[in-house]
Each structure stands twice: as structure tokens, then as C-alpha cells.
């Protein structure tokens, strides 16, 4: 006959009596970071108050963007778990507590609940204090406070449950504490490693979304991510999912507690399989770190060295000995090495066919291509028609055909990024990201067709009819002060003049002249601002997005929404250049003063060494040609305006020399093959 008892009031009360200082410290930090900051007028008046409250109810503090809150949310649950389960780590305490009228379930549930209470009590008290302070200052809404309580509880519960699991599988306090923290970030860390491998070995792997995805693995990280993004704080349903996961983790910990061999207290890990897992994780982590960092330099040895270090460390820690020469360690070494080889091999050999996967256009609903289209930065254009989808797929295949031998060295000097996001008809998505040479894109037939596609031309021409107050702000990309003396660097256009400029821009864009911007020296940047009243943001978004697919809503000025769209103008944009010429805002390639010099660098390394540090007037030397006469500089600037990107392109820094040093340093891209013969010969004495 057995008596089922899940909870012991006596043990619960004693745990609270014994470990209340842990809660008290947590509460003290909460108080200093929250209510105290609000109540202290001297603090409230300085910048900290602004950063804490963010000026609005439910601001940064309630989004947990507060160092004190974040610290306690993470540290208190781990410390509380280690405290309440520390009896498992000593022979005397294990014997004493397990011989008392407490079943393992009673011990687990009671200790779990008392540890959780130690974490939650400071949160509840802090919430009450914040409510009182907030009510007085009208700083927070009840809803925002309620969400803070829910989110904070969720984080505490999750981090605590994971730490409890760590305490159950480990056998001494130091390892339990370290594991308590490590387990909370274990999934994220393994995820990052896998991303690292994929990025290093798989051509086209897109890792830009890694952070939002990885933060999902832990509510503490997710809260930080949400706080720093528009999301503000975790949603209620996020919390429910995390709470459910935490309960599952606690249940697993309870099961493990039932099978835990108490005689192994004091060992690093009390389950044999934990030693294997921890040992492998050490080898994997070190091998990954050294491999990803040093692979370019020393090849596969980078993985081997890291593996060896991680293996030895992992075995020492898990076995608690320096004597590693045993049959068991040799067995582990062989198993781990094979596993690591399998992991690296899977990525290096692309056994799952990741790279070669190009969707059949028949199966694609739509595809979004993010890249530089009009020079307005990286924007996505969505293609839905069959011919366009086929062109994207063809472009995708052409990119794959020019795959470099080694993925990790794919960043060409003159490159452009493209991200292809396919929405497939079966509901799945496929995303690839490539860095390709600008020259390749310029000669890519499928890409040219894409530029002339119905989606692109239709959207561009539609811009002519965009309604609202339109203003244009044009800037010479090559600063005026270095080119002429009687005009300004920027100018605004509006009304009829603005409409003429828009028509010129549209004509250049529709014939694809502007799209070669990433292969050309930019002459102007033009930003179009459209101001129009809408009933709400959704209506504004819908209207603006119908033009070219990516007019962004920039702001709301209290009456109207403002959309922005920008163009980059190169030497091919004939109509726009003619417009500027007629408007008296033309480009001149005539440097107007002898103070100007041009410095052409022979290599990227030379650029890196000099481009930002010309605090002296340089002289020609190996790898660096200095153009000090006005004629030479003018010819170089003209070559920069007209030349396209090629292997013979170099950066030229144009400096205004005053007081024995370069000021107003500005760089442009020039093709030395396009330079006049005498100038080219002069330059090539120093720059090959």
C-alpha cells in the first residue's frame, strides 16, 4: 500500500524560509530598476527615465528592455532551481531527505513549486509596486502591466523549468549552475552552429532571418527581440506556448528524478548518457568555433584542432578526471569523430540537394526578388506572371552555374546581393540568397528580361499617376564642392517641375537604364516624397504598395501619410540627366580648384589602409597613384561617370587638401581601362 502525496507543506515552508534571501535580492534589483527609477525625481528628470519609460505607457520597462529586469529574469530562476535542488548533490542531504516521509514525486513537486514561488514572488511584488507608481504618474496602462506580469511569469517559469532539468541530470552545484544557464541557450546555440555550417558550405543559404527564429527558442531572448522590434512584448499566445513547453520540460525532469540514481550525487552528471551528450556537445562546439573561424586559413585542420580541444575538455569535465586514456574514452573519441565527420560531410557534400533545388515554375505561386532595382536600396519586387516566374527561375539557374568553388569566398569585390523567395503552390516556401558579381548580373539575359517584365514596367509607368503632394529631393552623389563652384550639392523639385522630373525618371527606369546602377558610378540620388491623406495606415499601405511594389510608408504627420521612393541615377539615365542639365543642376566633371587631388588605390587592402586615414597629403607610391593636376583629375572623374563595373575598376579617393592634410574625402569608382592613354600609363606605374 502506498500513499499518494504530491505536495509537502512543511518542506515548501522550510524552502521559503531557507532561501528567501534569493528572492529578496531579486526583488531589490527589480525595485532599483523599476519603481525606484520612477519614484526618484532626480533620476526621472535625466535621460535614464526616458529610456526606461520610453515616454509611453507600456514602454521599454514593461517590454522588459531593462537591464535589471533582464538580469533577474534570467539569473533568479537558475539560482532558485540550484538552491532548492542542491540537496541532491551531497551524500548526507540526499540520505536525510529521501529517508523522510517524502516520496520522490513529493520532493520534486514541492521543491519545484517552492523554487518557482521564489522566482514569482518578486515579480508579483514588483508588479504591484509598478502598478502603484504607474497609477500615480499615469505612466502605464493596466493592460501593459498585466502583460508584463504574464510575460515575466512565463520567462521565470521557462528558465526555471529548464534549470530544474539541468539540476536533475547533474550531480554537483557548480555543474548544475553552469548547465542551468547553458541548457537555456542550448537549442539556440546548436541552431546557430547549424546556420554557421549551412552558411559556410551551402551556396544560396539565407541566414539573415536567423535572429528572429533563434529567439523563439527561449522566452527571455524572445522578449528582448520583441522589445527591440515593433512587436513590443510577447503576445499572450506566445506565453501560453512557452508555458506549455515549460510544463513538458518539468514533466521530463520529474520522470528523470524518478530514475535518478541518488548514489551518483557529487558526479558531474548522474546519467551515463548525459556524459556522452555533454562530451559530444563540447567537441562539437569547439570544433564548430575553430572550424568556422579558421577554415579559410588552415582548412579541415581547423575542425580537427577544435574537436581535439573540445573532446579533451568535455571528457575531463564529465568524468571529473585528467586520466582520459581508457577504452571508454577511445570509444567516445571514435563515435564523436564519426558524428562530426557526418555533420560536416552532410553540409560540405550537400547530401540533401539544397543548392541545386530550383523550383519548377509550374509549381510557383509567386516569387519575390529582393535586390537593387532602381538604386533605392534593397527592395523586394514580387513577380506573379508565368513568364516572369520562368525568368526568375532561369536567373536562379544562371546564378548556380557560376557557383564559385568555395562558398565561403564568394564575396566578389564588386558584388550585388539577391534574395529569391518562392511561394510554392503547395503552401511551402523556398528562400535563397546569393552574392554575385555585378558584371555577371549586367550580362545575364534572364535578368534583363525580368527588368522588362510586365510587373516592373507596369508598376513603374503607374508611378506617373500617383496621387498626392509630390516633392523631389535630388542630391549629387559626387559632392559639388569637388566639382564646381557655382551650384549647390542638392536641390528640391515640386509642382510641374517635379512632375517633369518624375516622367524623366519613369522613362529611364522603364527602359532599364537605372537598373544598371550597381554596375555604374552613381551621379545623383533622387528621393520622391508623396504626402496623402488616408483613413488608416492599411489603406495608405495598400495604395502605396500598388506602385512599383515598394513605396514605403515613412511616417504619419498627424494629417497625412508620407510615402518615400528613391532612385539612383547613373550615366545611362539620359532623360533624367537632360532634365537636370536643363534645370541648371547638371553634372560637371570639372574640379574647380587646385586644392583637389585624386588618389587611385591599387587594391582593396590599400583602400582599407588609406581611405579613411588621409590625414596627410599623399604622394604616389606602389599601390597608390596620386593625381594632383586638375586636368588629370577631370579626366579620371569623367571616366568614373561613364565607366561600367569591371575587373579593372578601382576606388579613387578625391580629397580637398587644406592645411597639409586631406579633408572632405570622397570616393568614386573608376575603370582605369577607360582613362585616356597618357593618364592610364601614369596611373599604371603605381597601380596594376
Amino acid at each position: 500500500m502506498k500513499k499518494n502525496k504530491f505536495f509537502s507543506g512543511a518542506l515548501f515552508a522550510e524552502n521559503l524560509r531557507r532561501f528567501w534571501p534569493v528572492s529578496a535580492v531579486g526583488l531589490f534589483i527589480y525595485f532599483l530598476s523599476g519603481p525606484f527609477l520612477i519614484l526618484t525625481k532626480s533620476v526621472r528628470d535625466n535621460y535614464m527615465y526616458g529610456s526606461v519609460l520610453n515616454g509611453t505607457a507600456g514602454g521599454a520597462m514593461l517590454n522588459n528592455l531593462n537591464f535589471g529586469f533582464l538580469f533577474v529574469h534570467l539569473v533568479l530562476p537558475v539560482v532558485a532551481a540550484v538552491c532548492v535542488f542542491s540537496y541532491l548533490n551531497r551524500v548526507g542531504s540526499v540520505a536525510a531527505l529521501h529517508s523522510m516521509p517524502l516520496s520522490r514525486r513529493t520532493l520534486f513537486v514541492t521543491n519545484y513549486l517552492s523554487g518557482l514561488a521564489l522566482c514569482v514572488l518578486p515579480i508579483v511584488i514588483n508588479w504591484a509596486l509598478l502598478s502603484l507608481c504607474g497609477a500615480g504618474l499615469k505612466a502605464f496602462t493596466a493592460r501593459a502591466l498585466g502583460m508584463w506580469l504574464l510575460v515575466s511569469f512565463t520567462i521565470a517559469l521557462f528558465v526555471f523549468s529548464v534549470a530544474v532539468l539541468a539540476c536533475i541530470v547533474s550531480g554537483n552545484t557548480v555543474i548544475a549552475t553552469l548547465t542551468g544557464f547553458a541548457f537555456n541557450f542550448l537549442v539556440a546555440a546548436v541552431w546557430v552552429c547549424m546556420y554557421g555550417y549551412a552558411e559556410s558550405f551551402l551556396y544560396g543559404f539565407e541566414a539573415s532571418d536567423i535572429f528572429p527564429q533563434i529567439t523563439l527558442t527561449n522566452p527571455w531572448m524572445r522578449a528582448i527581440y520583441c522589445g527591440f522590434t515593433y512587436e513590443g512584448t510577447l503576445r499572450a499566445w506566445h506565453c501560453l506556448v512557452y508555458i506549455a513547453v515549460a510544463i513538458v520540460i518539468a514533466a521530463v525532469a520529474d520522470i528523470l528524478y524518478h530514475v535518478r540514481k541518488l548514489e551518483r550525487c557529487g558526479d558531474s552528471y548522474v546519467f551515463g548518457w548525459m556524459q556522452t551528450i555533454i562530451g559530444f556537445l563540447f567537441a562539437f562546439a569547439f570544433s564548430t568555433m575553430t572550424g568556422l573561424v579558421l577554415f579559410r586559413g588552415i582548412g579541415v585542420w581547423a575542425y580537427v584542432i577544435g574537436f581535439a580541444i573540445g573532446f579533451v575538455l568535455g571528457q575531463m569535465i564529465s568524468l571529473k578526471t585528467f586520466h582520459l586514456f581508457s577504452r571508454k574514452t577511445l570509444r567516445n573519441l571514435i563515435i564523436f569523430a564519426v558524428l562530426m565527420a557526418l555533420i560536416i560531410g552532410c553540409f560540405a557534400l550537400d547530401v540533401f540537394g539544397f543548392e541545386k533545388k530550383v523550383p519548377d515554375p509550374q509549381n510557383v505561386q509567386s516569387v519575390s526578388v529582393e535586390g537593387i532595382w532602381t538604386g533605392s536600396g534593397y527592395r523586394a519586387v514580387t513577380f506573379k506572371t508565368e513568364p516572369s516566374i520562368e525568368n526568375v527561375a532561369a536567373f536562379h539557374r544562371e546564378i548556380l552555374e557560376q557557383r564559385p568553388d568555395e562558398v565561403y569566398e564568394i564575396m566578389p569585390a564588386r558584388h550585388s546581393h539577391f534574395t529569391l523567395r518562392y511561394d510554392l503552390k503547395n503552401g511551402t516556401k523556398l528562400t535563397r540568397q546569393y552574392s554575385v558579381e555585378s558584371e555577371f548580373v549586367a550580362r545575364c539575359e534572364s535578368f534583363t528580361k525580368l527588368l522588362q517584365s510586365e510587373e516592373m514596367t507596369g508598376s513603374i509607368t503607374g508611378l506617373a499617376s500617383i496621387q498626392g503632394e509630390k516633392d523631389f529631393y535630388a542630391t549629387r552623389d559626387f559632392p559639388f564642392s569637388l566639382t564646381a563652384s557655382d551650384a549647390s550639392d542638392s536641390r528640391s523639385f515640386s509642382g510641374a517641375e517635379g512632375q517633369d522630373l518624375l516622367n524623366a525618371l519613369i522613362n529611364d527606369a522603364r527602359y532599364g537604364r537605372m537598373t544598371t546602377v550597381w554596375a555604374r558610378q552613381s551621379l545623383y540620388s533622387v528621393e520622391m516624397t508623396v504626402r496623402r491623406e488616408f483613413s488608416d495606415k492599411a489603406a495608405a499601405q495598400e495604395y502605396f504598395s500598388s506602385f512599383y511594389g515598394f513605396v514605403n510608408i515613412d511616417s504619419y504627420d498627424g494629417q497625412a501619410f508620407i510615402g518615400r521612393f528613391s532612385f539612383q541615377i547613373n550615366g545611362d539615365c539620359k532623360e533624367t540627366l537632360e532634365f537636370f542639365e536643363k534645370a541648371g543642376f547638371g553634372v560637371t566633371a570639372a574640379p574647380g580648384t587646385d586644392q583637389l587631388i585624386g588618389v587611385i588605390f591599387g587594391s582593396e587592402e590599400a583602400e582599407g589602409n588609406h581611405i579613411f586615414s588621409l590625414d596627410y597629403i599623399p604622394q604616389s607610391e606602389e599601390g597608390m597613384a596620386v593625381l594632383s593636376s586638375s586636368d588629370m583629375l577631370r579626366a579620371a572623374v569623367e571616366a568614373g561617370y561613364s565607366g561600367k563595373v569591371s575587373e579593372s575598376c578601382r576606388w579613387m579617393s578625391v580629397c580637398d587638401t587644406q592645411g597639409g592634410r586631406c579633408v572632405s574625402n570622397y570616393t568614386m569608382f573608376i575603370d582605369i581601362e577607360k582613362l585616356p592613354a597618357d593618364l592610364k600609363a601614369a596611373v599604371e606605374q603605381y597601380v596594376k
Binding site: R18, V91, A95, P101, K261
Partner: protein
């Protein structure tokens, strides 16, 4: 009352208990002895439900000990390695024991505390080893258990205190038929208080019987002589 059948427990390659079967009758004071590493403490940790056997069973009054609150509410354990909550006083531990044991007796606690003269409001971890042992006896016997299990209980106790401790314990045996299993190397002490003994070696019980029977069968051998005889020593 206390019974183990074919109890087996291994730690890695070491077989600490090797099919051990033991029987202790109700109201008996059973002395368990054996050389170092013979498996006494391992056996006791199975009897108190701290360890789980690889095979075999361990029961008290026919009920399994492991994870059984009903059995453990009637059992108290004085371990060799004592444990008290950090910074706790005797009265703090009293509160905890009182909350756990339904048979706890405040009267017994007061009587024993007065007899032992232990300071109730000083931290136990500042007590001497002997005083800590007294405190553990005080707490265990105040729980009024039906079964008392003692592992090297008299280590650190002076002769006067030993007599007091045995006195309180034997009073409960006489008054309430409390069953006691006591593990010790001190054979003379065991001979003085036990009515049954078991000699254990390499995880097996070499001898189990009543001391009275022993005197009859073994022609007046003392327990010490019997021990050496069973262990194969020349002194037997």
C-alpha cells in the same frame, strides 16, 4: 517486520549487495556488523528507501520501502553522515520534523532536550559532532517511529551520552515495541543492546541469529569471537 529478499546492488563493476536476505522481527534490536566496505551502509540506504535495488525486494511489514510515504512516516533514520539545513537551529529542525511526521511528540522532544541539555536556539552547524549526533537522536526519537535505523550511531558520543541515548531508545523498544536496526563496528556495544545480529561481508549475510541462540550453539562465544570466526580470522 523488516525484510530483504535477494537484494542485489552494483556500482559499476562492484557488487555491493549480492543477493542479501535479512529478517528483523518486530520489537527486536538488530545489530548489523561487518568489515569496512562489506555493504552495511548500502543495505541501510536500501532499508531507508534512499537507494533503489538492481533486483530483490526490501519491505517493512510487507510494504515496499522505496518511495512509500506510509512506511517512511513510521521510520526514522540516524545516518553516519548527518545533515541539517544550513543555519538552522534545533527548534527550526523540530518545526520541520513535526510537519513531516504525524506521530511527532512535543512532549518527548522536551523531555529529551532537557535530558541532553542541547541549546535550542543555537545553530546546529556550530554544534560539535557529538552534539549534532545527539540532536539527530533527539529529532528521530521524538518522531516516535515504529522502526529506527541507525548507522554508526555512537561515533562521537561520550560514554555518558551513549548510555542516555541507548536508554531512550530501549525505553521505546520496551514501551512501544519499536524495532531497531543498528549498524556498528563496536561489537561489545552491540552485544550489550542487541538481541539479534547479522554479520555481512562482500554484500552477503554470513550469519544471522539471536544472541541467545548464539550463546547456546556456539558454546559461549562472544560476538567478537563469532565475528572473527565468520570472517575467517585466526583469533576465532
Amino acid at each position: 517486520m523488516i525484510r530483504t529478499d535477494d537484494l542485489v546492488k552494483s556500482f559499476g563493476n562492484v557488487r555491493a549487495l549480492d543477493g542479501l536476505s535479512l529478517h528483523v522481527e518486530k520489537g527486536a534490536v538488530y545489530g548489523l556488523t561487518g568489515v569496512n566496505g562489506s555493504g552495511k551502509t548500502t543495505l541501510i540506504k536500501h532499508l531507508t528507501g534512499v537507494m533503489l535495488p538492481d533486483s530483490g525486494s526490501c519491505t517493512i511489514d510487507g510494504m515496499p520501502v522505496a518511495d512509500n510515504i506510509i512506511v517512511k512516516e513510521r521510520m526514522a533514520y540516524v545516518p553516519d553522515e548527518l545533515y541539517f539545513f544550513g543555519n538552522y537551529t534545533l527548534s527550526g529542525m523540530r518545526r520541520f520534523y513535526k510537519g513531516l511526521y504525524p506521530t511527532w511528540s512535543d512532549e518527548r522532544y522536551r523531555q529529551m532536550a532537557a535530558d541532553f541539555g542541547l541549546p535550542e536556539n543555537s545553530r546546529i552547524n556550530r554544534f560539535s559532532k557529538g552534539m549534532q549526533k545527539q540532536a539527530q537522536f533527539l529529532l528521530s526519537l521524538s518522531a516516535r517511529p515504529d522502526v529506527l535505523i541507525l548507522d554508526e550511531p555512537i561515533d562521537g558520543l561520550d560514554p555518558i551520552m551513549r548510555r542516555k541515548v541507548w536508554g531512550w531508545m530501549l525505553k521505546d523498544v520496551a514501551d512501544r515495541q519499536m524495532t531497531v536496526l543498528v549498524s556498528s563496528h563496536n561489537l561489545r556495544e552491540l552485544e550489550g543492546i542487541c538481541d539479534s545480529v547479522g554479520i555481512i561481508d562482500k554484500g552477503k549475510l554470513l550469519f544471522e541469529g539471536k544472541l541467545d541462540d548464539l550463546k547456546g550453539k556456539a558454546a559461549g562465544l562472544s560476538l567478537e569471537e563469532l565475528f572473527f570466526y565468520e570472517m575467517g580470522g585466526e583469533q576465532a
